[in-house]
């Protein structure tokens, strides 16, 4: 299990290639990448986080996933700081013997990351600045698990 919080870009292709590499007991790998959308004249998305708590929260969410599903490995990478449209904000990866576990665990990680990891997004663009509001749908998604 690996949890990374950093301002620097990460190499998504290399992370995918390396994840669960050389494992012969994992039949399924699922990855999710979150990317900054350039909707509505967005120039930059600034991601603030809570150093210390962020790592703990992400680790707790990854450990919860590893308890609920039969997983061989879990990876979570999340950036903070200013990002431009098209940049990758974060990724998760899950490896499991069977596909259902890999899919559900990745889906679960994303739902919890959205609403339970201490990140806040500020959009800057032609319409000024504003903090992205949490969506009711994101909070409701947690009830699926």
């Amino acid at each position: 299990m690996r949890v990374v919080v950093q301002a620097a870009p990460f190499d998504y292709g290399a992370e995918c290639a390396d994840f669960a590499r050389d494992r012969t007991d994992m039949g399924a790998v699922v990855t999710f990448a979150g990317i900054v959308r350039g909707d509505g004249g967005l120039a930059s998305m600034d991601i603030e986080h809570y150093p210390g708590m962020t790592e703990k929260a992400l680790t707790a969410i990854a450990e919860e996933a590893a308890q609920r599903w039969s997983l061989g490995d879990v990876l979570v990478i999340h950036r903070h700081g200013p990002l431009r449209p098209g940049e990758r904000i974060m990724m998760v990866a899950t490896a499991a013997p069977h596909r259902r576990d890999a899919f559900e665990a990745a889906d679960f990680l994303m739902d919890y990351l959205k609403s339970r990891a201490p990140f806040w997004k500020k959009e800057r663009g032609t319409e000024g600045e504003n903090w992205v509001a949490a969506k009711v749908a994101d909070e409701d998604a947690l009830t699926r698990w």
Binding site: G34, E48, Y50, G52, M53, K56, A57, H78, I89, M90, M110, L113, K114, S115, R116, A117, P118, F119, W120, K121, K122, W131, V132, A133, A134, D138, E139
Partner: protein
């Protein structure tokens, strides 16, 4: 006790963290104390339904006790991912 603020809570209060000497028993008591200090705190804590709390880097709520707490944080609902 270290009190931390994030996102628009930080902007309204005007600083990211401060050291506060308090005997507040719960998060609610601490919020009441802060509200009484200055308008900027009253403005930040005007609508508590919009604010989330962590005590020693674990999510809590306004009823969470502060005995032995070293760090309390206030912030809007999180928007990770």
């Amino acid at each position: 006790m270290d009190v931390l603020y994030f996102a628009w809570v930080r902007e309204r209060i005007g600083l990211p963290r401060e050291r506060i000497e308090t005997s507040a028993a719960t998060v609610s008591d601490l919020v009441e104390e802060l509200r009484g200090r200055e308008d900027r705190y009253a403005a930040a804590f005007a609508d508590l339904s919009a604010i989330r709390v962590a005590v020693d880097q674990e999510l809590g709520d306004f009823d969470s006790p502060l005995a032995n707490a070293r760090e309390v944080a206030f912030f809007p609902p999180m928007t990770g991912g």
